[in-house]
Symmetry: D5
């Protein structure tokens, strides 16, 4: 009668093992053949994995089956709100405070009344070389959903 | 002794004139030769315009010089926090709640300890056709800044 | 150079005219041939109307064209958060506090990992007679969206 | 002198046992002959069970009597407010922000001044097939209570 | 095309007229034959009045028909949250912080699982003489509603 | 060098023992000859007990002297604010939001400028039979204190 | 049908007239024969004045009778919470954060279980000369009220 | 490698030992020859003690050297904000809400633009006999600091 | 009977006149012979000016005496909290979140238990040339105050 | 399968060892040849260290390798918000509330539209002797970043 490991306990073990083994998130994502942002988010507790994905990750990181069991659970999503004030994450929040209303105007101009789905959705992050300093390029790509009664 | 029109009063007049004249944000941006997200954000009060940009916008929209004067002022940035709960804008906030910690991990993996600048920064929004429903593609593109003492 | 009437100013005028003329929301919805919850929400400022819908409402309520102009604008959605503490609305919030996690479990059980769309969505409210006291029946009906990368 | 298991500890054990045994909430509800939303909410800690219901659930899930004891306690209701930002639950909150004032207007139009009870109340969730994508249909059904001095 | 006076504007006029005419709330309540707490709450904007009640109040206070019109509107209930920090009102809030969980225990002990209705409900306030200093006696009296599916 | 049991740890043990022994709060109050609301509040951690009261309660519930020691401590009062959103307690909060300003007006009308004490104060809860459904009657009874410099 | 001047509007006029006439709060308090902290608080809207006090203040400051009428109204007390972050006021708040729990311990040690009344209460502020720099001395003096059922 | 006891763990042990030994805060303060409010605040974790003070307190209360070590640490000051809603402490907060702006006006009138220091500062609490009920007298005494560039 | 212009109304007029006349804050500070950060803060409403300073500023900016009157008033300090989320100001807040506890440790190491005064205090901002990009250098310089009873 | 020590656990051990060994932060910084504010912030969990830095610190403080491992992890930055109400840290926050808008004006005047980087950034704290009392001098020094699309 022991409960399944919580998603945050599992994430803490995965992060620790990853660092000790010197593996990148990229390498873990390749191992399971899934996109790297999705894989990282899933291992941090934001998406459920299939049994096969969970098992492969645990084998790669030498973690036992209690972690694999936790990785397959349906998550309660939405990070701790305090996380949003970390400087690396806050810059995205700041960009939304400054550009959010403009994005709304332009989405309505290009598509009509509706939203970008955050469910039928993917994100990617890449590094673009630039002589003035390399750039972080993050792409949000979601299906348009129009208000439809 | 009348104060300069506030940025939000100017924005309200610009939005009203734009609708009545049937002009797109895209068309206004072309008129002043600036990127469309930047232009929309500036007209909603988030960036100062040059005198020439402000004058051209006001001429296009038949607004008087008090609006142009306001558009050149240095803004106090950061939208009203209530705006973030509009569904179209909230989907981006939700994506950050779900993917923010993963983006942080991957930025550190690709670049080391630092952040994506929200100042040396541009955003773009486009429509990508897709047989399963067209997609909203938003790109955040900022210079990487490493923590440097 | 007068700005378009705000959505809340327009709503205040519509509500006042509706009461003075003794018209129901149902009657207004029939006039424009649209569902009654959608129509009420739109007139309270949560959805844009077509020009024809806006004009018919204004004619029915003897309101001038500045109201019709406002009704066609794209709204900034999301009611004033203080509204959620009105007792009639709060009971729905309380139901979500008590039953929200159970609804989440059952949506995942019946559909897999995903959400009920609040965009491709309709609500209906009806009165069901009951010898122990009539009942308010509210149906939330939204397309299922699965998390899909 | 050990205190009764808290409702959240009991819920964690129930959820873990349910997953490991591969049982659905539906199956547990059938076992105790109660509606499925009610049963799920009760097992997550929002309603007290009778001794018989609690015992049958624990027998089905191979949990010991300390869990059954906890299930019979009177709960302190109302979920953790952070739960409301999980995307699957948040869509209902968003629907209330957009449609809450309209629902209030229509309840008053159909019933007079009063509220839908959240106590003499039931909820149901079902899946409706639809060629454009199946739909989540959630029904809130509460007795009307009029303001009566 | 002027909107109906808001409930708070009407209340401000009623309070001002009441003071200038030297009338008590008790006297106004008697004039319309309604309980005094209900009447005061209604005039402060928390309950709708019938046309006859509204007209009698306005005649008594020499207020014009725009106030009577406002008094008949359905209110958005729930006072400004800042009001709860006024010392006279705060003492009731403090009593709930100290005694709320005890009241919950005893309501469940005397009635089972359920609540005191705040809708089928009345409040009374009276002055009880006491040699050690007179006492404020406030009675909350609401129908018990048991959780019933 | 072990610290005294905290008030909430003691309360958890008392509640557990009370349920397991099948005792009512009423019976415990009778045992110590004190009013039932006061006794319940004290055992939940909101009032200090005398040594004799604490000892009698612990003897009745078979709890050891560490609980009795805790019951005599001076409390830090004021419940966890999350408790106020439990539906049974929230109805009282809602009543204050709706009727608080009216109670303030009537206290001033009957007594002048001052407050009902929440210190020289008692509360009682009773069940009143009623053919339309029994009623919860809660009486707040506090000494009037006038603003006096 | 104009409402009585609000307390904050009256305060703004009083403060302005006081500065323009070069009068101290001390002088105004002497004029009406009342303590200076009480008088200042009353004129800033925190206590009702008698008609005679209000009239004398208005005569002294050349303000008309609408101000005097407002000064006699029963206030909704409790300053704007933003006021507490002004540095001169914040130092008192900080002292409570640092010394509040110690004051609570010592009040209970000297008096038993109870509180210092903030109603049967007076405050005084004075300047004490000191060779190391003069000192602000503020005395809170309230009747002890013991918890008494 | 065990960390130093936290200030709150030390305080919990001190309070427990003080009660079990039947010592007053006054007696502890006399033992170390320091003012009683200062001593109580220091033992509750708001000021660092010298080694000698810490050792004497621990000898008096039969606490071991880990407590004395903790008492000498530099504190992170500022009590838990929930503490401010305890009724005994809240009355001081309420007094600041009602009288804070008046104290600010009078400090500026008596001293010019500046503040009362909360650092070069002492507080005292005493009991003053009064035939109408004894009074709690708390004196805040801080050096005046004028705004000086 | 018109109230003195509020500090924020005066600031709005000063900022507008400064821009229209093309004057720098530096130039205004020189005109009155005061440090530039102090002068800017005073004109934005955070410090009172002497009559002579206020008059010179108004002459320079062609503003009338109602502005000069407002500039001499004692301010209620502390900016609107929303201002702290403007990106230019937020970077300082972020630096405090990251380095605040380190600054506290080092102030105590260098000075003992106490604080940097924010009253006997000056700030300066300068531009330092740097081949890698010029730098903003802001110096906070306040008298050390030790905790002294 | 034990997770890496959290940054706050490591900080607690470092602070305890530093005090017990009687070492200053200055001495630790010298040992690793890094600036003292940076070193203190890193050891409190706000910056990652290199393996060599971490090992030297742990050798100096006799801490084992689990602490060194934690010190090399990438931090989630941003202190606990409650820390900002400690008086020593709060004075900096207060300075920003009073001078933040003035700093913004002057940064824009000296540099144009942009910000001081909090990433390419250093802070220093020093003690300056002064006959009127020594002064805390804190310098914020960050690269200017202009808004550049």
């Amino acid at each position: 009668m022991t409960p399944i490991l919580s998603k945050s306990e599992a994430a803490e073990l995965i992060v620790s093992a990853r660092i000790r083994k010197g593996l990148t998130w990229e390498a873990i994502a390749e191992e399971i053949g899934a996109p790297v942002v999705w894989t990282t988010a899933a291992l941090l507790g934001q998406h459920p994995m299939t049994q096969e994905q969970a098992d492969r990750v645990c084998r790669l990181l030498d973690l036992d089956s209690s972690v694999a069991e936790s990785l397959q659970r349906q998550p309660m999503r939405g990070s701790d709100p305090e996380v949003l004030s970390d400087p690396t994450i806050y810059r995205f929040v700041e960009a939304l405070k400054v550009y959010g209303p403009a994005l709304k105007e332009l989405i309505h101009e290009k598509f009509g009344d509706g939203i970008m789905s955050a469910i039928n959705f993917r994100v990617d992050v890449s590094r673009r070389e630039d002589p003035d300093g390399d750039r972080v390029v993050v792409t949000f790509d979601g299906k348009f959903l129009d208000y439809r009664w």
